[in-house]
């Protein structure tokens, strides 16, 4: 029954290897086929989870601590689905995007995109189903490396600079995380995510491990002020890659942070640490938004928007830190809100980066001043952008609205009203930079060379993602019930 679990990882990996072997024109075909198959597999996994509940398997039958343990609950599942849906649309998009791409080393980019992307997908799937700390380290490293590979795809000079910065940060981040793992293993003799949670005491070693791991993961998630690597990397990569990085990759390390927070360290976290993280989140919202307001290039604006939006995820920590009652209503609520924000931001941000890609295909630049008259010439693209913007601003009926509502509700519910202004002002600033971005599109177009037409399929993929980011607001009740399968947000210990 559960033998499908390793397939979630093996299938994309196999596709990646095949793409490398085949090269040339065959790679995109294999890539798209693998994407479809992986998405179908995730669909099957969803069905299986809903019929038979959370599962845990030991690959090879060795058991902890030697073997590889895989586990799936609602939180894993929602991340798998998020990756599959966004991954599938980006795959369809990338297939045609690189045909029309006009940058350097077009052929190499088209070929190498697929092995790196499938590798990334497999690694992320592995990350979402891993149940032990060391495996998480391995796949986290793999996620980072394949992401860097994707950034430097075109091999131009500024891409290499950004890629190197990204690589070094990613490595530093994983090093911090690995040191934390080592400390925990030395103290408790196990790497099992859920077993450690039961053993851990609030002593010096645990606190050191917590600090190291949190720092490492914050670095990888690009939480202010450790976000410095993100804007250049996300803005200089090709559009499908930017979408993958902003939508999915930063969420992978945040997922580990969530797991650690609820399953490993609940006895160790303190309100002080929680408040510190919340403060970083507030800083991210303000700083990221203000930077976004200063940008002239579309993709940089979107990248800084990611920095800002990640800040919303941090308010979970002050609300839940040191909470004794694991079944608290507010804990459930802030967690649901945070997951909802992860999802809606992923969909909206993927869509908006793909829109930027369409604009670049059509205009050959991503200067926002060149967007004049876009609403008339590419109405579908501008419409997608506007829909995604609505979700990012947190306006109803989008997923972003449900997320902001739940987080706000929880923050006020536990009496930490001082986070509320960040949420409110963050929404206004988002509206500020999003309308700054859309504004030129509604002006009269400049006379001069027109825009190159873009394939309709690409516009449809972009629009679909934007509509999903709105749609999850409407069906939020069902989605959030799914997340709660296996009760991932409970203190202390996991569901096992």
């Amino acid at each position: 029954m559960t033998s499908w679990l390793p397939l979630l990882v093996l299938l994309p990996f196999a596709g990646a290897v095949l793409c490398l072997l085949v090269r040339g024109r065959g790679a995109p075909a294999i890539g798209v086929a693998t994407s479809l198959a992986t998405a179908a597999l995730v669909l099957f996994a969803l069905w299986s989870l809903q019929t038979s509940g959370p599962v845990r398997v030991q690959v090879g039958g060795w058991g902890a601590p030697l073997g590889i343990d895989l586990a799936v609950d609602g939180l894993s599942m929602i991340h798998l689905i998020m990756t599959a849906v966004i991954g599938l649309f980006i795959s369809l998009y990338a297939n045609r995007y690189y045909d029309g791409y006009r940058g350097g080393q077009k052929d190499r980019a088209r070929e190498l995109f697929w092995p790196f992307w499938l590798m990334l997908w497999g690694a992320m799937n592995a990350l979402f189903v891993s149940a032990d700390l060391f495996n998480l380290y391995v796949v986290l490293e793999l996620v980072g490396l394949s992401a860097v590979g994707l950034v430097v795809l075109t091999g131009t000079r500024d891409v290499l600079g950004a890629g190197l910065r990204y690589l070094l940060t990613a490595l530093a981040g994983s090093m911090c995380y690995l040191m934390g793992v080592a400390l925990l293993y030395a103290a408790h003799g196990t790497l099992d995510l859920f077993a450690i949670g039961a053993l851990i005491q609030s002593d010096g070693v645990s606190r050191a491990a917590l600090m190291l791991m949190v720092t490492g993961l914050l670095m990888k998630t690009a939480v202010f002020p450790l976000h410095f690597w993100l804007p250049p990397a996300h803005a200089s990569a090709t559009a499908p890659v930017s979408a993958l990085l902003s939508a999915l990759v930063v969420k992978a390390s945040f997922y580990i942070l969530l797991r650690l927070w609820f399953d490993v360290f609940p006895g160790v976290t303190t309100p002080l640490l929680g408040n510190l993280l919340g403060l970083l989140g507030g800083g991210a919202i303000l700083w990221g938004s203000l930077q976004a307001l200063r940008q002239k290039r579309l993709k940089l604006l979107i990248a800084y928007s990611t920095v800002a939006q990640l800040g919303y995820l941090m308010f979970l920590f002050p609300v839940t830190a040191g909470m004794a009652d694991g079944s608290s209503l507010w804990l459930q609520e802030v967690s649901k809100g945070t997951v909802c924000h992860v999802l809606s931001h992923a969909l909206a941000k993927a869509s908006i980066f793909l829109s930027a890609g369409l604009f670049i295909l059509a205009a050959g630049t991503d200067q926002m001043s060149a967007m004049k008259g876009l609403a008339e010439r590419m109405p579908l693209t501008v419409f997608s952008m506007a829909l995604a913007a609505v979700s990012l601003m947190g306006l109803p009926p989008s997923g972003g609205f449900i997320a902001k509502w739940l987080i706000m509700h929880a923050v006020l519910g536990v009496g930490q009203w001082w986070w509320a202004p960040f949420l409110v002002i963050g929404g206004l600033l988002t509206a500020g930079y999003m309308f700054m971005m859309l504004r030129p599109a509604f002006l009269e177009p400049d006379p001069g060379p027109g825009l190159k037409p873009v394939p309709r399929l690409l516009e449809v993929c972009t629009l679909a993602l934007a509509m999903l980011s709105i749609g999850i607001g409407i069906s939020a009740a069902n989605l959030l019930n799914l997340v709660m399968i296996g009760n991932p947000f409970s203190i202390p210990g996991g569901g096992w």
Binding site: A375, P396, A420
Partner: protein, 498 residues
Amino acid sequence: MNLHEWLPLLILGSSLLTGICIFFLAEEQRGLRTFLNLAGAFIKLALVVYMVVGMARGETYETRFPIVLGFDFVLKADSLSLLLVGLSSGLWLLTTVYAIGYLEHWKNRSRFFGFFSFCVTASVGVALAGNPITFFIFYEFLTLSTYPLVIHRGSVEALRAGRTYLWYTMAGGALVFTGVVWLHVLVGSVDFREAGVLAVVDPSLYPSLTLIFALLICGLGVKAALVPLHGWLPVAMVAPAPVSALLHAVAVVKAGAFGIVRVVYDLFGVQFADQLGLLTPLTIAASITILYGSLRALTQDDLKKRLAYSTVSQVSYIALGVSMIGATATIGGLVHLVHQGIMKITLFFCAGIFAETVHVKAISNMNGIGRRFPLTMGAFTIGALGMIGVPPVAGFISKWYLGLGAMASGQPWVLLVLLGSTALNAGYFLPVLYRAWFRDPDGPWHEEGPVGRLEAPWMLLVPCLITGLLSLLTGVFAGADWSPLSLARIIAMKEYLP
């Protein structure tokens, strides 16, 4: 689910689906677009009529489903929502006809009519919302759907106005959001109910409730254009005339005013709000707005600008009425919600006709325009006299009840505000009427196209005459069973039940 649970959703869907379909039409598909527009408007009107008849027989209509655990999406038809639903769906039909005629030669008409339909959807949603969160959803949806209409011209000036509009309304929305969430934290999920739901809470929550009231009223006051939150309204005048008509008469300002009514009556309860001492500041703010708006209107030469400041002033009659204790004042405020809508849309329709057919936008160019446009100017005259409060036009009824209500609630100084406003209204409308009817034209008119048998294209003229006539009829037949006044009476009786 049966029809009783579906009907409110269908009423929303009739314009939402129209809007979505229109987005997918090409620019040239004029016939299909017009058909869809009118079909949507007629279907909505028919559904509303069906609902009204059903409610008169004692049926209830409510759509309810959970958004997230603990938060329901509720659409519910009650007497108060009928007031705005009826106004919106009726005036939408007329404005659609007008807009089709008005935008004949414009670009991007599919986009325009798509958002136009969304805008009405939002306004009907605001009316039908059965709890604060649903109200907020549509309140924000209204902001989003009106923005593209405001900037429709695509000029730098329009975009600047759009930005001002957005900053005001988004900030207002943020305040409402904070208030609604906070309220939810304190008292849990509450539905709007006649005579209010908050009177039963623990007295220790009173200070928080006072703050929440302030947040909500400030947030709603932005759209209701309470001074000093009115800055967006005169600027948003760059929008095409049908949009101004819609913004001022039905959608945006009414959403704000209606929200204030909901908060005072169906959330807090007017007696409880008075007990907390929250109503007097609202009365004062409304009074200031009434006088300030009229004063500013005096000095405007641009006709639309003058009408805009007049809106600032007139919409606050609603807030004034709801902020005074006593059923008479309530009736005056509520009935003005409808009366102001009909009268103001007439005035804007007229202004649009002048601008579109002979390029007259400034009042100083209106000399003798009554001879060129006798019918249009006739409608304008009815609207203007109604605004001043001359019997038997609708505006008189509102003012009469407001005045009586002020006396009944023991605030005779409000009467002075009303008198002052009447004088000022006369001061800025009568000169327009004088110019139009009694002065000689300065020269030949700059005709946009050949002058037909009618003084203006029929699609512009007919809606304008209908609303003009309605302004008169709702006043003359105010005593009839089906008049807005009777509906306002019924609502007021319910709000004051123990």
